[in-house]
Structures are given as C-alpha cells and as structure tokens.
Symmetry: C2
Subunit: 463 residues, 2 copies
C-alpha cells in the first residue's frame, strides 16, 4: 500500500474544509507534532489540522482516504511508545479544539466529552459531583489518547483501565463514515462489542469524535501509607499478600531505592533510601480505612518492613504521587547526557517478584546503562527506565538486549509486552511473539476498517 | 449463502473424528438440543457431537466449513432468546464432556477452564480459596455459554459482567484455525482487543475451547436486607439513591408485588405483598456492613419504605435469591396454560423509574396478558415477563406490540434492547434500531471471521 504526500491541490482542498486558523503548516507547529515523550525518531507531519466537529473529521478522512494520505490522531503527545508520531508524514489531526465537556449526567454516573479533553481537567470539573474518572496515567493526557491506548495507571488495581469506563463512542471511520457504538446502559449483551475493539486500537481503526464515559463514586474517605523494605523482593512479596488480603487498595506503587534517592535529591523528600511501597486506600469510613491500614501494616511487618508510616495527609500524598508520576523527569534531570526507554511489561500477580528480580539483575549486570525500577505493583506492572549516553553504541546494544529479554520473559510468564503504554513503534517487534496467529486476525480487522492503511500508519504491526 | 444438510458421507466423516459414544443422532438427544428455555420455535440438529479437545473441534469446523454445514455451540441450553437453537439444522457442538477445571491459580486470582464447566460448580470448587467468579445469571449456565452471551446477573451492579472476567481465550475459528487471544496479566495495552470481540458474540465468530477467567476475592462479611414500598416508583427511587450513596451494594433486586405474591403462594414466604427490594452488601467487617445497612435503611425510609428487615441470615438469603432466580418457573406454575416471553431491557440509572412505569402501565392496559416485573434494578435492568394462552392470537399481538414499545422506549432513553439475555432470535428485530450504521460493521466482522456463515446461523442479524 503506497501512501502519498500532500500536493498543492491537497493542501488547497483540505484547507477549504476548516477555518483558516485551524489549518497549520508552520514549522513550529509541525515540529511540535512530530514526536511524543519517547525517544522514537521524530516524523514530521505535512499539516496539522484542528477539527472542530465530527463532520469536519469525516470530510478530512473522506478526502484523505481517496487520496491515500496518512492521517494520525493527536491528543497531548504524552505517550511513550511513539504512538502518535506521524512516521509517514501526511496529516496530523489534533483535538486541541475539540476539548469540550458536553454533558455531565450525574444521576447516570456518566459524562459526554470530546476527545481533546484533558482527563485531569475533566476530574476537576467533576469535583463537586462526588464522581470521578479513575484511570490515572499521570501525564496531562487527553481522553482521546487514553481511549486510543487503553491507558491506565496508579488506580487501576482497584478501578480498572480506560476500557472499563467507555460506554459509547462516536467514531469516524477511514472512509469518512460516522458511526455510534455502545450505549448508555450500565450493561448490555447486544451485538458484537465494537466499543472494546476501538479502545486500545491506537487510532488505527477509526478516530474518536465523542465519548460517553462511566464515572465512579468518590469514596468518602482515603488513607495513605508508606512502607519501606530491606529488598525489592520483600516489598514485592508484601504487594502480593496485600492484594490477596482482599482489602482492595486503590493504589500500590513500588519504587526501588534508586528512585527514592532521586526523589530525595530533587524533590526534597526525606525518605529512607530503600525499596518503598506507597499504598492508597479508599473506603466509606475512617474506621474501615484504619482497619485496612492495620492489615497492610501487619503484612508489611511480616515481610520485614523497616519503617511503616501511616496517616499521611492529602498534601503529602499529592506531593508523593506527583513525584512518582514525575520520575521520568527526575531521571532526565539526573542524567541529562542520556537518552532512555521505558520498559513496560505486566505479568500475573504470582510472577511479579520473579519478573522484578529478573529485570533488575539483568540491568545491574550492564555497566554501560543506568536503570530505575518502579511500577504499579498491584497490577503486576513493571516500569524499568533504562538509559545510556546517546552516542554509546555498546550501551544501546545492551539496552536492546535487555528489553528483548525482559519482554520475552514477561511473555513466557503469561504476561504482556505492554501493560499500559501501548504498542506504537516501540513494541511492534514483540507482537508476533505475544499474539501468535491472532496477530494475523488483527491485521485482517485493520484491513477491514482501513483498507488503504491511512490511519496512523507504521504502528502496532511488525514491518 | 446456502448451507447444506448432512448427507451420509458427512455423517461418516464427522463420526470418524470422535469416539462413537460422542456422536449422537438419536431422536431424544436431537430433541434435547433443539430448544433453549425460551418459546422460540425448536430447530432440530442433525447430529450432536460432544468434542473432547480443541483439536477435535478444529477438525469438525474445518470439515463443516468446507461442506457449508451449520455448526451451533451448546452449553446448558439455559438461554432465553433462542441463542443456541440450531435453526438451520446441521451440527450441534455440545461441551458437556469438555467440563474440566484445568488449573486453579489462586495466587494469580485466575482459573483455567473448559467451556462446559457449570459456573456454580466452578464456584463450589473454589470455595476453599477465598475467591469466586462473580457473574451470576442464576441458571445452571456453562462458562462457554456465559462467554457467548456476556452473561450477568444479580451481582453485576458491583462486580460487572462476564466480559469483565475473561482474561484469555482459546478460540477455534470457522476454518478450523486455533488461536489464543488475551493474556494472563491484570492489564494490557497490546494490540486490538480480540477477547472482548469474542465475548458476547454468541458463538458466531468462533468457538470457545478454553478460557482463563479472572476471579474476585470473597469479602469477609455479607449482609442482606429486604425493604418494601407502597409503589414501584418509591422502590425504584430508593434504588437510585442507594446506588448514588456510594455504598457499592453487591445486589439490588427489585420485585413487583405480583412477584412477591407468587413467592408467598408457591414458596411459603410470608412477605408483605408490596414492591420489594432485596439488597445484598459485601464488605470487610460486620461494622462496615452495619453502617451500609443503616444508610440503605435511611434512604428507604425517606422513600416511604413500609417495612425494612435487616440481619437476614445466609439461609434466608439463599432461599430468597433462589426464589428470585426461580420466578420464571413460579410464573409457569401459576399460569400453566400460558406461554411467555421475557423482555430484558436496560437503561441508564436516572431513567430506571420512568422505564419501569412505562412498561408496567402499558402491560396493565392489556387485558389479554399477564405481566410480572422484576429486575436487577441496580444495573438499570428490567425484566418483564409477559404471557398469554398459547392460542390467544389477540394476546400475542398485544405482547408483540408491548415488546416493541418497551424496547424502543429503552433505546430512546439511551439504553439497550438486551441487558443480559443476548440477541439470539428474539432481539434480532431491534438490532437496526439499536446499532444503526454500526450493525453493518458487525456484519462485516462476521463475514471476515466466518465467510461461509456456518457458525450459529440465523442469529443476531435481522433477516
């Protein structure tokens, strides 16, 4: 399938579809939309269009499909696997102008939004309703991007991923057709589940023009605790027992000692430099959370916990979670000469300790690279940030080998190559190993929905 | 697409693929597999095959696909929309022999099962682990059937539907290809979500040969309460406020007074014949549940509750839930001369009262029919069982009109034509209204996976 570059006539026609200030070909705009937060090679679009309605999206796609022009959706550019990089050039559709909350239906626990809404801003707008949208990837991600990548984060252990909160989607398909999938009922057994087919499809099967999201009730009370341990093994074991205890924590984050050291150094924390768990609990009463905290403490002590701090207040919690979410930036600050990748595997609960040790030991053996381990431990999700100097070829070879070995071990343990960052460019190489024969069926579905391959080309499938 | 009937040569070949005692053409076996629990017209298969392995399923499908022979999967036959009725004859694949629990992985909160496992037996086998599979449709359904219909039930309000518990599937496709979809990690953003595409596809895209299910931790404590109200409106309003209170009940079942009367009459209950809510709560401590119960009582009293009974014990609860699950049979006992359909719509929470009243008022206007209303109120799911004498043509016309009007009202309210019973034969007529243009995409997906249309023909899509 050959895709075309935009000619003069293409620019003329496409520019006629939207207001002049929403058709951008200036160098700085193109550059801003040429890379995400990853180190994957930039790919510059030929135009960035800011549609305002689903009809505009449809008109753009209809034309692009006829002319075989690449179209890549763009939310906030906060992804980590090159997911929205327009590797074939062409059109970037930015949803920066489609960022309206359309309807908050409190009594249905639902909200209708455009794809460009930033989830944090949405939760801020919901603050007086007692409801919230739980998936929490940390970055200033847009709802459209979160749907495209099935984003998750710190609260997924209790509340699930983005896929668990999408009720209904308005999709614009490659040929410009607009369809609605899903409905607003709390449950349904009606027809094939097209909603979940689009969630996590990385903008390759269609473009989200509107979404109805399910919301969760904010529990009355929250409690936070921090526990540190002699070794990551001890911490990981504690995680397993905390999950098995049935107390249903809202977050269980693990940070290895090197992460804590960064937080002390750059964020003025004063934490013991040891493997640390951060545990968040949500519940209806203070008493209930006190009981949960006691269970967490008992388990932690049994696993050799050095220090257990409970009763953190909201400000301390926010500061801690912000630092946790900002670890990638702290690592950048600590090693400005380096570039890096984030390994993002997830494994079944019982294999978490094994996976963690395997990855860390491999990484520690390599002198050319630095490695930081943290993760949404309650989900079996491990992030290993491994970096080296940009020009250190031996280092990059070591990183590549490490990445390969960690991912293949995760797959051997029944896990996945990507817990939450999506496939994008970086994880394409593992798709055949992870999905086997079903990868061919994904390709067939791609061809069914996008026969000319215009939507986010160059992603997900191995070359 | 023309499908064939089995010739002598077909029987000879197919019989050679399995042991003799697993190839059944006797009249009584064929008859047993010719209808489900609904009144949809029986369709007799030409053979019932009891495969034992995925390879056997693959060999049968490969041959059936070449010869254009219909193949319909069969679990327990407990469905309510004609979902597994072999309307074109051909082969029924019964999973009665593939009923083994393959592996309980307690520490991963997971279980590997064959499709013929009865979910109640599976939960019984899990009783010492502290884990359970929450979806609870009531009948002796098999896991394979529950996956095919995305079954749910009393506990869905808190725990979700079958789709929320399927991690991984081994699927046999129409051409005989065996693929694995999904993985065992608690979360993943890897590739298109084929697991959810198969869940709820009613055996039309492939046959489930094995499943890995997620399990939930049994909460330490449970509590039950029964509240009755002057009117169904009062009861429905109470439901809305209970859900909004954030106490996260495990079940909120509504039974209109006519249902209570049946339970008194046939099951020796001694309940006041008034609209009644049954509320189940799960939590970590007795104290917590006492607090939840108090909130439920306060809300109920505010909505005019006549009597609020709490502190039911497990035996009372089991008896009540069994009677609730058995309402269809009680209705049959009360009206042995009748036949009936179950209307199964779901609407967004805030529209529940309106939907309930609309359906009941319409039904009460019809003298030719009897109607019983109950439902998983916490999910916005309404069951309206409407019956009349088999030979009452005016009655059946009234039922048909009622069904049409109730479903179209549910759709107008943003709901669905089928909350949990699936489409099968009975809900095909509503698919175009519910799904609009996306129905064509479902058909395209069907054609992609099953180009010859051999898998469960005559279902889901309007004729």
């Amino acid at each position: 399938m050959t895709l075309n570059h935009l000619g003069e006539e293409d620019h003329r026609h496409l520019a006629s579809l939207v207001a002049a200030d929403r058709y951008a070909t200036g160098e700085s705009v193109l550059r801003t939309h040429s890379r995400d937060q990853s180190r994957h090679r930039a790919g510059k679009p030929e135009v960035v269009i800011f549609p305002d309605t689903k009809e505009e999206i449809a008109a753009i796609l209809r034309y692009a499909n006829e002319r075989r022009l690449p179209v890549t959706g763009w939310g906030a550019g906060s992804s980590l696997e090159g997911n929205p990089i327009p590797v074939c050039g062409g059109i970037v559709l930015s949803f920066a102008r489609m960022n309206r909350i359309l309807n908050i239906r409190e009594e249905d626990f639902q909200i209708d939004v455009q794809p460009g809404v930033i989830y944090k801003e949405m939760n801020h707008a919901l603050r007086h309703t007692g409801l919230f949208f739980p998936p929490d990837p940390g970055a200033a991600a847009t709802i459209g991007g979160m749907i495209a990548n099935n984003a998750s984060g710190t609260r997924t252990v209790r509340y699930g991923s983005t896929k668990d909160y999408v009720q209904r989607l308005t999709m614009v398909l490659a040929g410009g057709e607009i369809i609605e999938v899903g409905n607003r009922a709390a449950k349904s057994s009606s027809g094939y589940d097209l909603v979940h087919l689009f969630v996590g499809s990385e903008g390759m099967l269609g473009i989200v023009a509107e979404a109805t999201l399910r919301l969760a009730a904010i529990q009355e009370e929250m409690a936070w605790a921090v526990a540190n341990f002699p070794t990551v093994t001890d911490a990981a074991q504690a995680v397993m027992y905390i999950i098995r205890s049935g107390i249903d924590p809202a977050a269980v984050e693990l940070m290895a000692s090197e992460c804590i050291e960064l937080m002390n150094r750059f964020k003025n924390f004063n934490l013991a430099p040891a493997p640390t768990l951060f545990i968040e609990m949500h519940g209806p009463t203070k008493r209930h959370l006190a009981e949960c905290t006691q269970i967490v403490e008992e388990i932690s002590r049994e696993e050799g916990c050095l220090e257990f701090r409970q009763g953190l207040d909201r400000a301390e919690r926010d500061r801690l979670i912000e630092a946790r979410h900002g670890l990638a930036e702290l690592i950048q600050q600590a090693h400005p000469e380096q570039s890096r990748i984030v390994i993002d595997v997830a494994v079944p609960a019982a294999s978490y300790t094994e996976m963690l040790l395997f990855a860390r030991e491999l990484a520690q053996r390599e002198e050319e690279i630095t490695a930081y381990t943290f993760g949404h431990a309650g989900d079996g999700n491990i992030h290993l940030v491994v970096g080296t100097r940009r020009d250190n070829h031996a280092g990059w070879r070591a990183i590549d080998t490490l990445n390969q070995r960690v991912v293949h071990r995760a797959l051997a343990l029944g896990g996945t190559a990507t817990g939450e960052h999506g496939v994008g460019i970086g994880k394409r190489q593992f798709m055949a190993a992870e999905h086997g024969a079903s990868l061919e069926w994904m390709k067939k579905i791609k061809t069914l929905f996008d026969p000319n391959g215009i939507l986010n080309p160059g992603k997900m499938f191995p070359e």
